[in-house]
């Protein structure tokens, strides 16, 4: 029987296991959860994956379920480590999600229940689209983004890699949000946002990174 390694932490791991189980019954897919400690450090995280290099030859696959911490970098690192091991990492589309035909979704994407991905959109690898989110037509979402539950992205918008959009965010049609941004303040975005800009509800003014 094929098996799926589900690697992650906390509520995301629990949710991912439940979602995969809802797609495939226990008789059809064996789930092998691996809880990692995000505070353990990069070396320990990668070491935790030891033993996954040589799956049973029964069509093993993997899925990484981790939140947006470290600008989504921790989920990206884990996914990259698994990719290097040659394990397939198909996207997870939860029951009830509506994904238009022709939408391209790459490895380790996670489309939550009730999310709507409209025609002509592209979702980069390792990106999480939360339950009930709406992604308009012709939208591009870069890799390793985190689109929270209920977020709305207007048609033609461009969302950069490793972007986090928090609860209550609405991205206007055609707007661009540069890579590594966080918008965690409810409201409608009608201006483009430069890469490495962090808009938090807790801060009166944006946090920005300048230089390299």
């Amino acid at each position: 029987m094929p098996c799926k390694h589900v690697i992650g932490h906390g509520p995301e791991l629990v949710r991912a296991l439940a979602a995969w189980r809802s797609i495939a019954p226990a008789a059809a897919l064996e789930l092998r959860p691996l809880e990692i400690d995000p505070a353990a450090g990069q070396a320990a995280l990668v070491a935790a994956l030891d033993g996954l290099e040589d799956p049973d030859g029964e069509g093993a696959s993997a899925f990484v379920a981790l939140d947006a911490r470290f600008l989504n970098g921790m989920r990206l690192d884990l996914m990259a480590s698994l990719r290097l091991r040659g394990i397939a990492m198909p996207a997870l589309v939860e029951p009830g999600a509506l994904v238009a035909a022709g939408v391209r979704m790459d490895d380790n994407c996670w489309i939550g229940a009730g999310a709507i991905i409209q025609h002509g959109s592209r979702i980069g690898f390792n990106t999480v689209i939360g339950a009930g989110a709406i992604v308009g037509s012709g939208v591009t979402v870069g890799h390793s983004a985190w689109i929270d539950e209920g977020v709305v992205i207007g048609r033609g918008a461009r969302i950069g890699a490793q972007v986090t959009l928090g609860l209550g965010v609405i991205v206007g049609h055609g707007r661009q949000i540069g890579k590594l941004c966080i918008v965690d303040k409810a409201g409608r975005i009608e201006q483009d946002i430069a890469a490495r800009t962090f808009i938090h509800a807790t801060h009166a003014q944006p946090i920005v990174i300048i230089g390299a």
Binding site: Q42, L71, G73, L180, I182, A204, V208, I209, G211
Partner: protein, 382 residues
């Protein structure tokens, strides 16, 4: 000891206006980091003492000007930082490194008389670069910067700031408190064990103590007063200083430390206080630095501009933005603890409020307020 500081020094707008003239305008004020101005046409804008200032890079040379177009008073640079020529978007006037003006359609539309045309240029301010720190002075005849900070402090600021990386994260907190509460708080080594008991004090065990020499100096100052400007400047220099402050509870150990050229090699909390309103610290033994610039906006309003950067990267690494963001959010906890208490104090102050009582461990703040009140009472001028 009983403080002489009246509540008006913190809440009265007329006092605040006089303070700008007597204290801030004659002094060198921090405006930004040289690493933010590292290319032609890079600029920073800030409002210092109510005056909009732009620092602009002209082919590697930094110049400071009043950020007001002489035509219709439109700000020339609108953003807080960026890369753009010194060019007013309202009617297309542009400015060179001398502040001289190029006016499109000048003959056809303006026809300024020669004597008026000769006066049309930007007001320029003095600028000094100390390592990676850029200061401006709004006075027509600036005080030599060494007289404000002293040679040792300038050397320490230079050496430490040259360790800064060129990737900087920054934001501004809009504080509802008087700026002096910030410098008093920063020179009070006793508050971290209470106010920051669950944050900063976990990593660094600050121990306040009484310096008998410092207290004796304060007593002499209280008896003899500040005799002249030279003594006043000397005393002012004693309000700035920096270097090792307190040992760290445990050696710093974060994965990114391997990627940066650490400033020195000691597991200490470093602290620099540059009077009047700049604070720099390294809470992890020289691997990263926080810069806090307290910009007075009104008697009860202070913008706290916070920069965070690591020591220079040995080479670029993928997670550097995440490292900076994580540090900024970690620092946010301590910042809010300080801001909250300063805003609480500000809210309690009223014209009839009684003066505070200072302990002997607060001899620096006591000296500072004595100096400050003499300045405000016109006993000396900067």
């Amino acid at each position: 000891m009983r403080s002489r500081m009246p509540p008006q020094a913190y809440i009265d707008e007329a006092w605040f206006t006089r303070e700008r003239e007597l204290l801030f305008k004659p002094l060198w004020q921090f405006i930004g980091l040289k690493v933010m101005l590292d290319k032609h046409n890079a600029f920073i804008t800030r409002t210092l003492s109510g005056i909009p200032v732009v620092v602009q890079n002209f082919h590697g040379e930094l110049r400071a000007f009043e950020n007001i177009c002489p035509h219709r008073q439109n700000p020339i640079q609108v953003q807080p930082h960026g890369v753009r020529p010194l060019f007013c978007g309202y009617h297309g006037w542009s400015f060179d490194r001398e502040g001289a003006t190029r006016i499109p359609h000048e003959d056809a539309l303006y026809r300024f008389p020669p004597e008026e045309r000769a006066c049309i240029h930007l007001r320029r301010f003095a600028l000094e670069v100390v390592g990676n720190l850029v200061f401006v002075c709004l006075a027509g005849t600036p005080l030599p910067i060494k007289q404000q900070f002293g040679a040792a402090m300038l050397a320490s600021l230079t050496a430490s700031s040259l360790a800064y990386d060129s990737e900087v994260i920054m934001t501004t907190y809009e504080g509802h408190f008087n700026w002096k509460l910030a410098y008093e708080n920063l020179r009070d080594g006793h508050h971290p064990r209470y106010l920051h008991a669950r944050s900063l004090y976990q990593d660094v065990k600050f121990e306040a103590s009484i310096s008998e020499e410092g207290v004796a100096g304060l007593r002499r100052l209280q008896e003899a007063g500040i005799a002249d400007r030279s003594r006043a400047l000397g005393l002012m220099r004693s309000f700035s200083g920096g270097g090792r402050d307190a040992p760290m509870a445990a050696p710093p150990d974060e994965p990114y430390h391997a990627h940066v050229e650490r400033y020195r090699d000691q597991d200490w909390y470093y602290n620099w206080l540059a009077f009047p309103n700049l604070h720099i610290a390294s809470a992890n033994g020289g691997h990263a630095f926080i810069i806090e610039h307290h910009i007075p906006v009104a008697a009860g309003r202070t913008d706290l501009v916070v920069y965070y950067l690591t020591a220079k990267k040995k080479q670029p690494y993928a997670s550097s933005a995440a490292v900076l963001h994580a540090h900024m959010m970690g620092t946010d906890v301590v910042m809010r603890e300080d801001i909250e208490v300063m805003e609480q104090i500000q809210r309690t102050l009223h014209p009839g409020a009684r003066s505070p009582h200072l302990g002997d461990y607060e001899f620096i703040n006591a000296s500072l307020e004595l100096w400050y009140l003499d300045l405000m009472e016109g006993k000396f001028a900067l």
